[in-house]
Amino acid sequence: MAFAAFATAEAQPQAPKRKSRIALFLLLPGILYLVLFFLTPLISLLLTSLQVPSELGDIGQFDYAFNWQNYVDVVQLYWPHILRSFGYALAATVFALLFSYPLAYFIGVKARRWPLLQSLMLVLVIAPFFISFLLRTLAWKQILSDESFIITSLKALSLLAPDAHFTGTPFAVIFGLTYNFIPFMTLPLYTTLERLDLRYLEAGSDLYANPFTVFRKITIPLSMPGIVAGTLLTFIPAAGDYVNASRDFLGGPDTQMMGNVIEANFLVLLNYPAAAALSIILMAAILVLVGVYVKRSGTEDLL
């Protein structure tokens, strides 16, 4: 797992310690780059979130201050969006897990005898990555629009109420988030399931456990690292996404998420402090949730 990837090689450097000047030379450019374009922007964001409108300025002009009131204001104004972001992301994560687990199980366990089929199926799992994220979301919008073949025939068969809509509903947004992040869930699940030692499962059934008990008591715990990595990889981008929820894509006026209001405040309303405060809230909430989740699921070594 990549969460572990940084920790695992912590140990033995392969070569004896050489001049640390070389290490410095290798590290410095990249680290400096990340300090300049990742770390300081986060500080800029924090400072921006505390700004006040300048007295004499136009719209979009702000002065540095320590106006913590901004945070209270955005929470009061945008609490539905904040709740929606995390609710939708949670729902999408659960659906993606339910969708991906059997798929990853088939690729990683059942298809072991056919390595070529295995790698072909992996290519199919990541195939959606190769077509533009926005275009595949738009494709779903058109496939599921009120005039589309699928929806009209479902209505003709009375499987769907005549006045039912799909696009523009929370259901459509969650559907889009689920679809778009399925590969992020399937790949880490596949990685752990592919290494699952089947002898444990045999031992379980030898001890008269029924298949369900074997699955619940052996398969699930052994694939926990993949479940944790997959849910994080799905939840984090889903909570910050604003393409699926956007009105031109799968969302409607009542499905706007935090990303949508951050974008609107930053790029349209030029209310930078509000956008920055919302971003800081989003990041802090995600870090706290991830920390608690990783601790509770007992996979701390992932981080």
């Binding site: 797992m1 990549a2 969460f3 940084f6 920790a7 090689a9 392969q14 070569a15 070389i22 290490a23 410095l24 590290l27 450019p29 990249g30 780059y33 990340l34 300090v35 374009f37 770390l39 986060l42 800029s44 964001l45 921006t48 798929l103 199980y105 088939f106 690729i107 072991r112 790698s119 072909l120 290519v123 199919l124 990541i126 195939a127 990555f129 190769f130 077509i131 275009l135 979301t137 738009l138 494709a139 496939i143 629009s145 005039e147 679809y179 992020f184 790949l187 990889l233 984090i236 910050g240 604003y242 393409v243 031109d248 990303g259 951050i262 930053f266 971003s279 989003l282 995600i286 870090l287």
Partner: protein, 299 residues
């Protein structure tokens, strides 16, 4: 993160640890009943793949639609859109596509260089502030894109840098570095230091040893990382949207024209990119399979 790294491995067909021994114990085949699960799971897998591929097929099919402006309802088959991709809207689609390619290439070169250097240092050298370095590399991957985008935009605004192609490249390089480090690091860790020692024993200068021994051995990992970087940069919309000003990229073009209808030419470009990417990946997978077979024969 791991999904991305796995994607890189599949993308490049350069899975690390190409052990030849089968680390999955097979165990004796036991007599078993043919049960529900024997066909249920394969059937589910097929349905799942159909579901995953629906929007791709849709996008591809509608690249042949004889549409006028927006590409929503089917109006008949035509090859026009494929033959005259750049003729619509004064070539706006192609302009955006070209920008995406340039940004992707430059960001990939910078990120791959910086990330590979970090990966080598992380595996090969001991230094203080190692865990701080790891944290700094991990955090950009755990931060939602909208926060990365808004943060950089706030910084550019505070410093007074106008948003253009350069700011997009700076932003893309930033989020690609961590993915390069993770991908290349696995490769460095699996490298046998004895090979470099042999190079030094044969009086190779440090630069000779690096370019003749280390670099060729790391190349598959570096290539996979570069492919991943390019793919991430090429398809990025959220961070680009905050830092692009009036410059158009392919995803941004789609986002902006979504409200008035996407021309079929966008489907043409996306389909072409899809086919090229698929060919690269499958070719890499096949050559990897061939390599493993060759090695198996030697062994």
């Amino acid at each position: 993160m791991s999904g991305e790294v796995q994607a890189a491995a599949v993308l490049g067909g350069f899975q690390e640890n190409e052990q030849l021994d089968d680390r999955r114990p097979a165990g004796p085949a036991r007599p078993r009943r043919i049960g529900l699960g024997d066909w249920l799971l394969p059937a589910y897998t097929i349905i799942a793949f159909v579901f995953l591929l629906i929007p791709i097929v849709y996008t591809f099919v509608f690249s042949f639609n004889d549409s006028i402006k927006s590409n929503i309802s089917w109006r008949g088959f035509t090859l026009d859109k494929w033959l005259n991709v750049c003729n619509v809207e004064g070539g706006a689609v192609c302009q955006a596509f070209g920008n995406s390619i340039i940004i992707g290439l430059v960001a990939t070169v910078i990120a791959t260089t910086l990330g590979t250097m970090i990966a080598i240092a992380l595996v090969r050298y001991r230094f203080r502030a190692r865990s701080a370095t790891s944290l700094l590399l991990f955090l950009p991957m755990a931060t939602p894109e909208v926060v990365l985008g808004a943060g950089l935009a706030a910084q550019f605004l505070a410093v007074g840098v106008p948003k253009d192609m350069l700011t997009i490249i700076l932003a893309h390089t930033m989020f690609c570095i961590s993915f390069v480090v993770v991908t290349v690091k696995a490769r460095v860790a699996s490298l046998d230091p004895a090979l470099e020692e042999a190079g030094r024993d044969l009086y190779g200068s440090p630069s000779q040893v690096f370019w003749r021994v280390t670099f060729p051995l790391l190349l598959p990992g570096i290539l996979a990382a570069a492919l991943l970087s390019f793919a991430l940069s090429f398809d990025d919309f959220i961070i680009t949207n905050f830092n692009s000003g009036s410059v158009s990229t392919f995803p941004k073009y789609i986002y902006i024209s979504a409200s008035r209808g996407i021309p079929a030419e966008a489907n043409v470009i996306a389909s072409a990119v899809f086919i090229i990417a698929l060919v690269i990946v499958i070719a890499a997978q096949v050559s990897r399979a061939a390599r493993v077979r060759r090695l198996a024969k030697l062994g």
